[in-house]
Amino acid sequence: MERVSPVISAPAMAPNRPPIDWAGIIFTALLSAAIVLPLIVVGTWAFTEVWRYPNVVPQQFGLRFWNQTLTRADVWSALTISLQLSTVVTLLSAAICLPAAYAFARMDFPGRTVLFFSFLAGHAFPKFGLLIAIAAIFLQLNLIGTFWGVVLIQLVGTLLFMIWIPVAAFQSVDRRMEEAARDVGASPLRVFWSITLPQAGPTIAAAVLLSFVGTFYETEGAWLIGAPGIRTMPVLMISFINNQMVIQYGAVLSVMLWVPSFIALMFARRVIGGGAFARGFGG
């Protein structure tokens, strides 16, 4: 920190050197140890061939286990299933939720408020209890262990995000621009395409991406409804951890699974920033 020149400094600023931010340094140290260190350890394991206790660094680095993990048939089938599920769920969710979001944002119809808040219902109950209740119904419908059973359960999980975030996006579009476009003779479809969509688009894209990534990592519904027929990547990870297989398999899968999450992190920053996200959770 350089001393701020007294000439430039605003009256509110203290003229002396700012005190050392001890609280910040302590938080940084503790959070780095608790949050970054575990992930570095996992990353290291993924590129390790031999690491025997009690060495602080692995004896031998290498990509041997990447090769072994990626040639496993169960890894490829799980990855395929996960990508299929995430794609189908996200497309279905966008197809049914985006028109609904537009209706909630722009139209007036009976029961609008109650229906809008009905999407909170899924989040007001303990999730796994709700999944058990749904599984009991799916058991009678023979949906347990089927692709479409998992699609349904994961689709319900995306509804709140895919409606509430786009509603906020549609509402923040400048209505005067739309009216101006209409005054000069643009058709409603043309207004939607040229004015509404470009303004609401980035936020909606973030919501779609969040729902894709969220579905990809969804574990509990896939575990309870999908087994034994449907085995997604997270479900495969559970069995790798439980069966104490070669340590590196889990590490390699973690690093691979991490990639979509990282992309989400980059894109979701705009949605999460500004406190709008926390407000969505009732903060």
């Binding site: 350890v41 996992v42 909170l120 109950f125 303990p126 209890g129 926390a278 903060g283």
Partner: protein, 294 residues
Amino acid sequence: MTDAAEGAKRPLIEGAASRRPTGLLLVAIPVFLVGWLVIWPIINAIGRTLWRPDASGTMGFDLSSYVFFFSDQYSINNLTITLWTTLMCAILLLVICLPIALYLRFSHGRLPAYVQALAIFPMFVPSIILAYAFIRVLGPNGMVDILLNSVGLPKIRTPYLTPWGPVIGLVWDNIPLTVLILLSGLGNVANHAIEAARDVGANRLQVFWHIILPRISNSLLVAISFAVLGIFSSFTLPYLLGPAAPEMMGPFMNRTFREVNDPLNAITQAVITFGFCIAFGLFYVRSVARNQGQ
């Protein structure tokens, strides 16, 4: 939210056209899904456990599955460990997240930005990766043991497969949302209120207790409600990190449903978790609804 309020007040250009129930058609499928896969399963679960055929096949009111749950020592132990884990997590989350949120609210610059990024980071770590990382770091011969050994200290008693395993994992997982909710609540605390209190000689603790705490009490409750709803019936982390017995309600329900193949008792356990969380759920919905201001 100002946009929403403004949009609602301004007359719609279409006027009568927009009052037509076209909107209902557009929202029909998502609403139907919520009805079919959220509302109906809950009603169905309560109904099926209370109103079912007895030994002779006649339908009737029957509390026996609940009586069994509350008279079975194993079930009681599982419920107790769940309540204990939830309480521990709630306390730890407050102790950890409140100082972070307070620090972030009242400082500016690069270091707070980094602290905030770190605190939000776990949101982007899927819990399955977290479980794996936990075992590699805190498990037997994990990274902590390695580091302690390298400076000549004894190994830790690993929390892996003990009740503390799920507590640590769940706290880690819930830090981002708790910090975000508290931070959003602290945004409502005006700077001049704090300065005024400072001017009349209040110390930091007094400012916190008399000025800040009353203004963020609602956010505190929302953060706790949200954490409790997520933790009470969590499955993945207790299943992977917790002890085999007693187990938390999530793994317990899963085992009753899938391995014991006893849907009736699994649903009974689910309804009991609903009962324990109903107050938090209602409070959560009420707060969100009020915040949305519609």
